[in-house]
Symmetry: C2
Subunit: 411 residues, 2 copies
C-alpha cells in the first residue's frame, strides 16, 4: 500500500499577492494532495500588505507599541489563510485554516521578534486525520498568556520549519521566486549550477553571507531538529535544492559555492591603543545603537597600537561613524575611516574542514587577476574576503571557474 508523505509547504507574500495567485497556489497544493500526501501549508501576508499595515501604524504614531503592532500585523496572514482555504475548497479539496494562536504556536514575550518555544500539534493533527489540507498563518504566534506575537523578518519560513519539526514532517518545502540555491549568483556567473543538495552549515553561511533564499534563523531551526528543507520555485515544477544533513559525499567536494554581498560598508578605527577592554568598548557602543557588525578583523599590534576594522550594513554606516567618533576620542585612537565601495566575497564548502590550503588557493586566484584583498575572515567551512566593489563580478567568476563549480560533481 502506498502511504503518502507528510509535507509542509510555505509560500511567501509574492506567491499569494492577489486572488489569482492564491488560486494558483491552491492548485499547486492540491497537486501534492492528489498524489496522496498530507499537506500543511504556511502562508505569508498578501504582497505588500505588511507594508500597508506598517504605514497605517506610522500614520497614527511614529513609535507604535510593539504589542499593538503585533495585533495589527498578524491580520495580514489571517486574511491569506482564509482565502487560500476557500480556494482549496472551491476546487474540491477539504481545507481548514488556523491562526498562529489556534495551532498553539507558543512564543516568548518579545513582541515583533518573538522566538518559538513550542508548538502543540494536536489541532493540526486532528484536521489532517479528518482528511483536510491544513492552512496555517505564518509569521505569528501567541505567548503563554494569550498575547499575539510575530516572529520578525523571515518569520513565515520559520513557522514552516517549526511546524515540520513539530509534526515530524518528511520535508518542509519553501516555495520562492528563485528555483533553488546556485553555486554563484546566475546574474553574475551565467554558467552557475543549481545545487541538488547543500548542508545546513553551508546554507547558514550562504544565508548570512548574502544569498537571500532562506533566513538564517530558519536554517538554524531546521538543523537543530533535522528538518529536510526543499527550496523550490513557486512557478516551475522542477525540483530545487534540498537543504539537509551533511553526508560523506558532500565532503568530497571542497567548495560548494561562491556568494557575494554588496550591501556592506567597511569601517576602521585607526591607531587604537592595544589594551584589554578596548574591543568591548567599541562594539558595546555599536550594539547599544542596535548596529549589527559582521566581519571583524584586528591584527597584531605594532608599537602598542593596532587598527580594528569591521563590516556592517551600508545603511548603518553614517550612524556608526557618529558613534565611533566619540568612542575613538575616549579611547585615544587616531580616528575613524569608512568606505562604502567594498564587497564581500565568500567561498563556502563543508569539504574545507578536511582540506588544507583552500584559503591560500583563493588568495592566489584573486591576486592573479590583480584584485587586492582588504580584509580576510575565515570559519570552518567558509573563507570571506573584502575587496574593492568594482572587482565583484570578476572575483566571483574567477573563483567559480578556478574551483570548477559549473561541472556536476561525481556522487
Amino acid at each position: 500500500m502506498f502511504t503518502g508523505l507528510l509535507i509542509v509547504q510555505k509560500y511567501g507574500g509574492s506567491s499569494v499577492a492577489d486572488p489569482e495567485k492564491i488560486k494558483s497556489v491552491a492548485r499547486r497544493v492540491a497537486e501534492s494532495a492528489a498524489q496522496g500526501h498530507r499537506v500543511v501549508v504556511v502562508v505569508s501576508a498578501m504582497g505588500k500588505t505588511t507594508d500597508s499595515l506598517v504605514a497605517l501604524a506610522s500614520a497614527i504614531t511614529p513609535t507604535p507599541d510593539p504589542r499593538e503592532m503585533d495585533m495589527l500585523l498578524a491580520t495580514g496572514e489571517q486574511v491569506t489563510i482564509g482565502l487560500l482555504a476557500m480556494a482549496l475548497q472551491s476546487i474540491g479539496y477539504p481545507a481548514c485554516s488556523f491562526t498562529g494562536s489556534q495551532v498553539g504556536l507558543i512564543t516568548d514575550e518579545v513582541h515583533t521578534k518573538a522566538r518559538i518555544r513550542r508548538i502543540s500539534a494536536e489541532r493540526i493533527g486532528a484536521a489532517l486525520a479528518a482528511g483536510k489540507i491544513v492552512v496555517v498563518a505564518g509569521f505569528q504566534g501567541m505567548t503563554e498568556a494569550g498575547e499575539i506575537t510575530t516572529l520578525g523578518r523571515g518569520g513565515s519560513d520559520l513557522t514552516g520549519v517549526a511546524l515540520a519539526a513539530a509534526l515530524k514532517a518528511d520535508v518542509c518545502e519553501i516555495f520562492t521566486d528563485v528555483d533553488g540555491v546556485y553555486t554563484a549568483d546566475p546574474n553574475v556567473v551565467p554558467e552557475a549550477r543549481k545545487l541538488a543538495r547543500v548542508s545546513y552549515d553551508e546554507m547558514l553561511e550562504m544565508a548570512s553571507l548574502g544569498a537571500k533564499v532562506l533566513q538564517s534563523r530558519s536554517v538554524e531551526f531546521a538543523k537543530k531538529y533535522g528538518v529536510p528543507v526543499h527550496v523550490r520555485s513557486t512557478f516551475k515544477p522542477d525540483p530545487g535544492t534540498l537543504v539537509t544533513r551533511e553526508d560523506d559525499s558532500m565532503e568530497e567536494v571542497v567548495v560548494t559555492g561562491i556568494t557575494h554581498d554588496r550591501g556592506q560598508a567597511k569601517v576602521s578605527i585607526l591607531r587604537v591603543p592595544d589594551r584589554p577592554g578596548i574591543a568591548a568598548q567599541v562594539f558595546g557602543a555599536l550594539g547599544a545603537q542596535s548596529i549589527v557588525v559582521d566581519m571583524i578583523v584586528q591584527n597584531i599590534s605594532r608599537d602598542g597600537f593596532t587598527d580594528i576594522s569591521f563590516t556592517l550594513p551600508r545603511a548603518d554606516r553614517a550612524r556608526a561613524e557618529q558613534v565611533l567618533a566619540i568612542v575613538a576620542k575616549d579611547i585615544g585612537a587616531a580616528g575613524v575611516a569608512a568606505d562604502d565601495r567594498v564587497a564581500k566575497i565568500s567561498v563556502i564548502g563543508v569539504g574545507m574542514r578536511s582540506h588544507a590550503g583552500v584559503a591560500a588557493q583563493i588568495f592566489a586566484i584573486l591576486s592573479k587577476d590583480g584584485i587586492n584583498i582588504q580584509m580576510i575572515s575565515t570559519s570552518e567551512i567558509a573563507v570571506s574576503c573584502v575587496i574593492e566593489d568594482k572587482y565583484t563580478e570578476l572575483a566571483v567568476r574567477a573563483l567559480h571557474d578556478a574551483f570548477d563549480l559549473a561541472r556536476e560533481p561525481r556522487g
Copy 2:
C-alpha cells in the same frame, strides 16, 4: 471621594474610517477617561474594510465557506483595535487591545451570524484594574472549540451591549453619525424632536420598523440584561437618547414617535381556500428560501376563501413571487399580486398600552388627508399601516402634528 463610572463605548466603521478619524476617536475616549471613568471601547472595521474583504472572497469563489469567511472578516476589527490602542497610547493614555477570542466572547457555532453565549470578563477586568483603557474588537467571538466566529449585521453594537452586561457597566454609549432617536425622521419632519429617553420596547419597535440607529438584537440584549444604552453622535458633544427601562413618566405620553419604512413590498395571495395548514404552507415555503416576512394580514373568509397579504424586503419580492406562484397553484389559490409602491408608517409609544382609541385616532388622521390604508397591524405599543408610497411624507407629518410630538412633554 469621586468614583468614576464604568463605561462601554462603541464606535462604528465610519467613525474609524482612517488614521485621522481614529485619532479623533482616541481623543473622545480620552475625555471620558480624563473625567475619571473606566472605559472599554468597542470598534468596528475601518470604513469599507469589510466590503473589501467580502470582495476578495468573491474573487476566490462565489460560495465561500462560512468558517473561512469569519476567519477573513475578523481581521477587519483586529486592525482597528491595534491602531486605536496605539492612538490612545500616543496621547498618554495606557491602552490595551483584545480580539473577541482574547476577551472570551464565546458564541455558538453558527458562522457569520453567531449568537453570544457568554463573556468571561476576567481579562478585561484585569486590564481595567491596571489602569488601562481596554479596546475590544466588535462583531467577533469564538466557539467553545476555539473557532473564530462573527455576529452578523450590527454585530459590533451587540458586542458593546454584551460587554456592558458582562462587566455590569453603568452605560453602553453607542456613537453613531446621528445624534439620537427622533420623534420622526428629521428629513421628513423638520420640527422632529430628539427624544431624551425611550424605552427598550419602543426602541425595539423603532429598530424593527425602519429607524436604523440600533439593531434589534442589541436592543433585545440590552433589555434582557437591563443595560442602559446611550445613542449619541461621534461628532457632537451633546447628550443623545437614552434607551432604558420604562418608568411611570413614560406612560403618560401616549405616542413617542413615528417611523416609516420604504424598503418593503406588499405581496398578496388571492382567493386562498380557507382551511387549516394553508398559512403554514405559504410561510414555510418562504422561510425555506430565507425570505423574512414582516407584517402578515389575513382577514375573515368569505365563501370559504380568503386573501393573505404580507410585507417583505423589496429586494426579496421577485424571489418570493416565484416561490408563491408554485405554492398558489398547489393550494388552489387564484393567483399572486405584488406591489413595490408601498410604505409602512408606524406610530409607537408605551403609553398606548393604557390608552384605548389610539388606532382609531390614527386612521382618522390619515383619512382626513385622503390617505387610503392598505394593511393594518397592531402590537401592544405600535400601530402600523401600509399606505401608497407617495403619501409617506404627508402621512408622517400629519401624524407628528396631530400627536403634538414637536412639543417637549411635561415630566
